[in-house]
């Protein structure tokens, strides 16, 4: 069943849906990647335990409890939360992803089931099992959790670089897309890093260990941080496979994007240097405050990295398939004629406070085309963004939206709808007076808007220059 034209739009007050999924996503990715890395780390420690290291065995037994409480509860539920939040932000996007990759998602679910069962078996019986069985369970856990990452990585990277899939529609062209491998390698390295840093912190906090034992544990865990050395190379590999316009945002085209990239790179570099030089090479024992700070730095790097990954897709949520406002590129031309909200069945809340029908239409257009990324007066608020524009400037900037800012999608409505949006924005900027004149009867602005719309075309901003 295809998506309907209209979904009801959730309102988040001064926040925007992107902030909700961003917050949930960063926390979930952090915990989920930690869980993936923890599987490999525990296997590493179990091998040491097999060689007679009783301390490694004691630590991994305790660390698994931490893993269960953090990953199996919080991680699993934030995973469900990601599905539900994704619906709140863009139901058509998650719908398209599910339609295209449902068998891979179902396959990922199989690995998730194996991860949970092997993990709980280990958790429940670990102290009563011989070494070989512990290794077997941890191997199942580590492999299945990494395969979950493998599958999810293909689906997420497809959104940014669908590659050959755009021509062939092949499941595997979509899955093994241009950013699949760099993204997978990078996420694996991040997973190991997070697991190692969390383990160092847990070792510091656990009262069962002496200072000498903590130092020994830190030395045992530190080699797990060594792969951080290749992170910059993998990062460059990832940037090199990005589409040119996306790379442009990162390298100065969008200041916010560049700043977040700088935070991610800066935090990772600091972390990598400290981890490799101080923890691994010089074997300096650190205290719990430092361990906590390192993990916080890793959280900042993860958060900034995820922000960048989400941001560089603009103006799409699925490149060349779906714009951020859930309009498909082929729909833009149709909506320029038929309208964006002509068959929207959902009423405008608070319509009784709007002075005329044109403003009601304007608010409806805002809800359909803008509200996913913009609030009215809060985050990324349209009032602040457009306050200094004249009315004609507003008309032209909206009509040629993809030229105004090339990370914006083209306007997908009729001149009448655009004029209604302009009047609604003016009314908001004027502090919502009780009376507001309508321009519905004036053909001149509509004709001018039509000209501007035709000039800009229906393609994304990046394509304008090529035309």
């Amino acid at each position: 069943m295809q998506d309907p034209t209209h979904y009801p739009v959730s309102e988040f007050g001064p926040a925007i849906p992107g902030m909700v999924i961003g917050g949930m996503g960063i926390v979930h990715v952090f915990v989920a990647q930690f869980a993936v890395g923890a599987g490999a780390l525990l296997l590493w420690l179990e091998r040491a335990a097999g060689r007679g290291d009783a301390l490694a065995r004691r630590f991994s037994d305790g660390f698994f409890l931490f893993l269960v409480l953090v990953s199996f509860v919080f991680g699993a539920l934030t995973g469900v939360g990601m599905w539900l939040t994704a619906v709140q932000v863009s139901a058509p996007t998650i719908g398209a992803m599910v339609r295209e990759f449902h068998w891979l998602w179902a396959t990922e679910w199989c690995f998730f089931l194996l991860e949970v069962v092997s993990g709980y078996l280990f958790f429940r019986y670990r102290r009563r099992l011989p070494h070989r069985t512990r290794v077997a369970l941890l191997t199942l856990y580590a492999v299945s959790s990494w395969l979950s990452l493998f599958l999810i990585n293909g689906i997420l990277s497809w959104q940014l670089t669908p590659g050959e899939w755009l021509q062939t529609g092949s499941l595997w062209h979509g899955f093994f897309n241009p950013s699949f491998w760099p993204s997978l390698v990078y996420r694996t390295l991040v997973a190991w890093t997070l697991a190692a840093l969390a383990a160092v912190l847990v070792a510091q906090l656990a009262p069962a260990f002496s200072a000498a034992e903590r130092a020994r544990l830190q030395r045992a865990i530190a080699p797990f941080l060594a792969p951080m050395l290749v992170m910059p190379i993998v990062g460059l590999w990832f940037v090199s496979v990005l589409p040119a316009d996306s790379r442009g945002w990162l390298l100065g085209g969008s200041v916010a994007m560049t700043m977040f990239l700088a935070i991610a790179v800066g935090a990772s570099t600091l972390l990598g240097l400290y981890a490799v030089v101080v923890l691994w090479w010089r074997r300096v024992a650190i205290d719990r405050a430092t361990a906590a700070l390192l993990l916080a730095l890793a959280f900042a790097a993860t958060g900034a990295g995820e922000f960048v990954r989400e941001g560089v897709r603009k103006p799409f949520t699925i490149r060349h398939v779906l714009y951020s406002n859930a309009v498909t590129p082929t729909d833009v031309a149709r909506m320029r004629i038929e309208g964006a909200v002509a068959d929207d069945p959902y009423p405008v809340r608070g319509a009784e406070h709007l002075p005329n029908d044109q403003l009601i239409l304007g608010q409806r257009v805002f809800r359909r085309l803008c509200a996913v990324c913009h609030s009215i007066e809060g985050a990324n608020g349209v009032r602040h963004l457009t306050a200094t524009w004249t009315t004609d400037q507003l008309r032209m900037n909206l009509a040629q939206l993809q030229r105004t800012k090339s990370f914006m999608p083209p306007f997908a409505g009729t001149p009448t709808e655009l004029e209604a949006l302009v009047q609604w924005l003016r009314w908001i900027a004027a502090d919502r007076p009780r009376d507001w004149p309508t321009t519905s009867g004036d053909p001149a602005p509509l004709a001018q808007i039509r000209t501007w719309l035709d000039q800009a075309g229906t393609g994304p901003g990046g394509s304008v220059e090529h035309k």
């Binding site: 979904y7 509860v73 995973g79 139901a91 396959t107 199989c110």
Partner: protein, 335 residues
């Protein structure tokens, strides 16, 4: 038959049984906590079992729940998404509730001294129950709203048009009825040896299952006028319940050594029967499942489906192998 519809039910039934066990089990545990045990008396074996197993079964419930969450999006994504959006924060509130409930289960299992006080033995599972009951309420409300597209615009304008308690009661009765039956059956399997030697315990479990049946039938009766109109699903449901009663009868007359074997075999049969019954019932009764049944959803076949099938079999073998190995090695000396 549509493969997605079958997979939806095949994952929904285990999810519902595990979720029912956790919800009813928490309430059961709170009820047991109310009883004043004599000084030095042995711990109630049912309470011990529940306290020990509830977190793991909740983990399974969430894991199995991801399956129907995926397949419902294929079968009726637009209605599911619309209901999500209309309920918005009212629906999303189930996430923190579930998280709190999950951690409460671990707290009551922790063995910390304060958790053994009488107040804690009631308050902890009762609070967890409230969290899980709220989750059941939220999902039922979401599902019901998804089935009523004509109410969506009104519900967007005014939340009082959303499904209310009276609408949800029959569905919640079905859930709790099934949950009671699942809890009684699973406890019978888990405590087979104890139950075999204790006629009172066996009677108590049978009583819980009987109560579950009564609640389920009452809920079904309330649902009857609206959705379950077709005779074949009703007959199928009736046969499943008769089989359930027959199973309890067999357990009650089995000799001590036979109880566990009967319980395990019958529990497996009941779950498989429920999946089949639920599939038939929902395809026959629900418009969206009929639609899905008639529709060849993209990607029903192909390399993705083959990969899924192969991995599913591999994972099932791996799980069976792991469980067998753990059972075998539990008696071995650790190194």
């Amino acid at each position: 038959m549509n493969l997605h519809a079958w997979l939806y039910q095949a994952t929904l039934v285990p999810h519902a049984l595990c979720a029912g066990y956790v919800t009813v089990g928490s309430l059961w545990l709170a009820g047991l906590g109310l009883r004043r045990a004599p000084e030095g008396a042995a711990a109630d074996p049912i309470a011990e079992l529940l306290r020990d197993w509830l977190p793991f079964v909740l983990g399974l419930a969430i894991t199995f729940g991801v399956g129907p969450l995926l397949f419902v999006q294929l079968l009726d994504g637009p209605a599911f998404y619309t209901a999500n959006l209309l309920l918005s924060h009212r629906f999303m509130a189930l996430l923190p509730a579930l998280m709190i409930g999950f951690y409460l289960l671990y707290v009551q299992k922790s063995g910390w001294r304060w958790t053994k006080t009488r107040v804690a033995r009631v308050a902890l599972p009762a609070s967890a129950f409230a969290c899980f009951a709220f989750t059941a309420w939220s999902w039922s409300r979401n599902h019901l709203l998804a089935q009523r597209p004509s109410t969506w615009p009104a519900a967007y304008a005014d939340p009082s048009a959303l499904p209310q308690a009276a609408d949800l009661l029959p569905r919640l009765m079905l859930f709790f009825g099934l949950g009671l039956q699942a809890t009684a059956l699973l406890l019978l399997v888990q405590a087979g040896r104890i139950v075999a030697a204790d006629a009172r315990l066996r009677a108590r479990l049978a009583g819980a299952a009987g109560l579950g049946l009564a609640v389920l039938l009452a809920g079904g009766w309330f649902l009857l006028p609206d959705e379950v109109r077709h005779r074949p699903p009703l007959v199928a449901l009736g046969v499943a319940q008769v089989a359930l009663l027959a199973g309890w009868l067999m357990v009650s007359v089995a000799d001590r050594d036979g109880v566990l074997g009967w319980a395990v075999g019958w529990a497996l049969g009941w779950v498989v029967g429920l999946i089949a019954t639920a599939t038939i019932a929902s395809i026959g009764a629900l418009a969206w499942m009929r639609r899905a049944g008639n529709q060849q959803t993209e990607g029903t076949a192909g390399s993705g489906a083959i990969l899924f099938g192969a991995v599913l079999i591999t994972v099932a073998i791996a799980i069976a192998w792991a469980v067998r190995r753990v059972v075998r090695d539990l008696g071995q000396p650790t190194d």
